[in-house]
Symmetry: C2
Subunit: 478 residues, 2 copies
């Protein structure tokens, strides 16, 4: 692609409440490995890599999601992307605006292509030519949307009504109007009438066109973005920004809007109800995954992991099992999982916010049990990685290696600790755990002490971004 | 009570598949603490204690349930009862017959009162006068049944049709016929007609009357019982015994049968579907127990423990959660949980047979995690108890005490191990764990080695019945 370069803006600020208990507030949908080996964020980035260099990809997320997003980028070796943090969520218009004014290397007429971080595209090979077509029109000053031909009267998506082709016999069409998530009857009528497309949430426009449109249709947002551009702190500007989507705030009002229809096996994977479209179903119409056994259920989604889930005679249910929490929900009520999680966050804050297994740049730990005065963890250190040099003020730790061989530093002494060996780490003693070998090290850690919070950690030195010097600056250079 | 003494026969041979996953094949319904602090077996025995001395109570179970029943009697300080083991289940006629010929201290005209070990009686104070009334007629040579006035057209119970009173204005009635578990319509008709009672499965008769009736109506069984009485091995006799219930085999055929109606808040607690009759319901008609949160479900049973179960918009479902397995089942299909467990026993034998937490005479252990070459357990030793002096051929053990203080013997040396202290037990080394203190000792055990089976244990000495000398003889003197 010649002319002004193409940048990608990846919207990764979702809090993922609708995929609870697989998603948690500190483990949102965009990092879920729901549909294969990669996370949804990772898949989104990998999909764009053939088209856009990593340092032209701008991931926008909220400060509360920084840790998990930064970790995901690190673990997938994608730290070359730009990362922008919003102090709070202000919907998509502000997020895209932030990328437009704070993205590094953006020329005035750069083209921005916007992608949600958590959608599924079965046939990305069909995406690329559509993006090329969109790029042509974006360069000509259009605000370009991408429309999906509806296959059912879906009430969970917005629709775009298309008009005539932008050029005779051409691919891209005039966009005549946007329709918000419709009632069932309207959805049926649009499906029957034709000429309507699902709004994919993907957009493309020139940066100068976007900012000029903001100035015209969202002047408050525009003012705020200009302040940010001139160096104002996001914490100060953000509370005053309007919270509105790019669709409602801009595209529904603007004149020069195009839609490029594209068939690519798209799903926004909005709720557990989307799974039957994405996975093979058994003869009863069920999607059944994991350690499970069913007798005679129909049209259910049963998502198990390592625990056993046995089901009998169910109809239209969603059953999702995780190590510490299980959801059982009627299929027609999946939209309300969000309300359920809101209620959970009051009564069961732990299960609504975190998993028992927590990923770290060096590996992961799993809380196996917590009791009065003790906590038991399973710790995995990936080959060649090491934890920070750290100490705890209030707790002692007993380590028993059960796989691999670790290098252990305790109070200045270094020792090799092989499988079936153990060691004691007294409180207030600097210590470090390292895996110098080629296979993962697994150990059982038993913490004892009056205070067993994760926050009782003093990092004296760290291989990652968590040491005394803190994370890299938020200017996108991470 | 004067005259020949009263003995209780407690039928505790159930395999409890219908309460999976709370019951397992090695943890049957009769030891479940489903309805309060005591197990169903314990409650059955405690209920009879005011009437019948412990050594006149004969618990009959199958050899495969010996361990769990013996343990339950020990833990509840009820080892004074007689325990009789059947080599295999042969239904209730054989079980009662075994008690009649092998029970210790039975005179020829002793009266036997038969009770299932796993029924619920809300008002035992109403049971006692009914038993007194039954005893009067049993002494006169009647086979006495106890009938429950039906409160709904239940299709899961057998019915007894009563005739005239045995004496003018008396309580006990002639029994005119038995009706097997009826279809819905017949159940409705019986409820409307009156004079029908649910068959409680409780019976009372003189021993000589029982044996004479067996001789008349179940001659094969009678022959087998006589062989047993003369000292034949149960293993040899049992395979030839007819497998038939006392109701079908005897009471339906016999002439002199009485029924004593009794209202005592009885339930056979036959399936998960019985819980709504036994627990308070919320405004949606749900029984919700444990760590759970529900939005807008109706007429469900939700049985959670420590894990979180969140439910949304359900109707007529049973959800039962345990640490390693979850059941979700339509309420009208609860009878088929038995079939589900049959299928599970093939594919998931562990979850169909045992819990992660296993009770022991000295306390309990919980398998927290199993991996290649290691296993992690949480061990609780009750105050004043100690494990056997034992060794393992193939595994080493790391112990970290997290509560209380243990006395540890390893290879002849004795050491006190307080909270936050650890010790290593090498393979093939005799060791013993003891709790000399007044509070429970809790420790985390990490096993390592190529073979980590429970069977890798050599007990050199044991405080209970598991040492080299083995369990007590099966003559009921345990």
């Amino acid at each position: 692609m010649s002319a002004a370069p193409l940048f990608g803006v990846i919207l990764a600020g979702g809090t993922g409440t609708r995929f609870w208990p697989l998603s948690r507030s500190h483990y949102p949908k965009q990092v879920l490995r729901l549909l294969g080996s990669g996370s949804m964020l990772q898949s989104t980035i990998e999909r764009l890599k053939p088209l856009i260099p990593l340092n032209h990809l701008i991931v926008v997320t909220s400060a509360s999601q920084e840790e998990v997003i930064r970790l995901e980028l690190y673990r997938q070796d994608l730290t070359g992307v730009q990362l922008l943090l919003e102090p709070q969520g202000r919907n998509t218009a502000a997020a895209v605006g932030l990328a437009a004014v704070k993205g590094a290397g953006l020329g005035e007429d750069a083209v921005l292509a916007v992608f949600p971080a958590d959608h599924y595209i079965r046939h990305p090979e069909n995406l690329y030519p559509a993006l090329e077509e969109g790029l042509r029109w974006a360069r000509k000053g259009y605000l370009v949307t991408f429309g999906i031909r509806p296959t059912r009267p879906e009430t969970g998506y917005g629709y775009i009504q298309a008009g005539a082709a932008l050029e005779p016999g051409g691919w891209a069409l005039h966009c005549s109007r946007f329709v918000e998530k419709p009632p069932q009857e309207s959805a049926r009528a649009m499906l029957a009438a034709g000429g309507f497309y699902w709004n994919s949430g993907m957009f493309m426009f020139r940066r100068d066109v976007l900012l000029a449109s903001f100035a015209q249709y969202l002047p408050e947002l525009y003012q705020g973005l200009m302040q940010l551009r001139e160096g104002a702190q996001a914490q100060e500007v953000y509370p005053g920004l309007p919270s509105i989507s790019l669709d409602h705030g801009l595209l529904e009002r603007a004149q020069k809007v195009a839609v490029v229809p594209v068939e690519m096996g798209w799903s926004d994977v909005g709720t557990w109800g989307a799974l039957p479209d994405l996975f093979p179903r058994d003869e009863g119409g069920n999607v059944i995954l994991g350690r499970s056994l069913d007798l005679d259920s129909r049209d259910c989604v049963i998502y198990a992991q390592d625990r056993l889930v046995a089901t009998l005679g169910l109809k239209d249910l969603i059953v999702v099992d995780t190590p510490d929490a299980t959801l059982v929900c009627h299929r027609e009520r999946v939209q309300e999982v969000r309300d359920l999680v809101a209620a959970l966050s009051q009564r069961y804050p732990l299960e609504s916010s975190r998993h028992l297994t927590v990923e770290r740049p060096w590996g992961a730990y799993t809380v196996m049990e917590s009791g009065p005065g003790y906590k038991v963890k399973h710790i995995v250190v990936e080959p060649g990685r090491r934890l920070s040099l750290q100490l705890h003020r209030h707790r002692a730790e007993h380590w028993v290696v059960v796989q691999g061989a670790a290098l252990v530093t305790i109070g200045g002494e270094v020792r090799r600790l092989a499988s079936n060996e153990s060691i004691y780490v007294p409180p207030s003693t600097p210590h470090r755990l390292e895996n110098p070998g080629p296979e993962a090290v697994r150990l059982i850690e038993i913490q004892t002490g009056p205070i067993l919070e994760e926050e009782d950690i003093v990092r004296l030195s760290d291989d990652f971004w968590r040491g005394p010097e803190g994370p890299p600056p938020e200017d996108g250079s991470s």
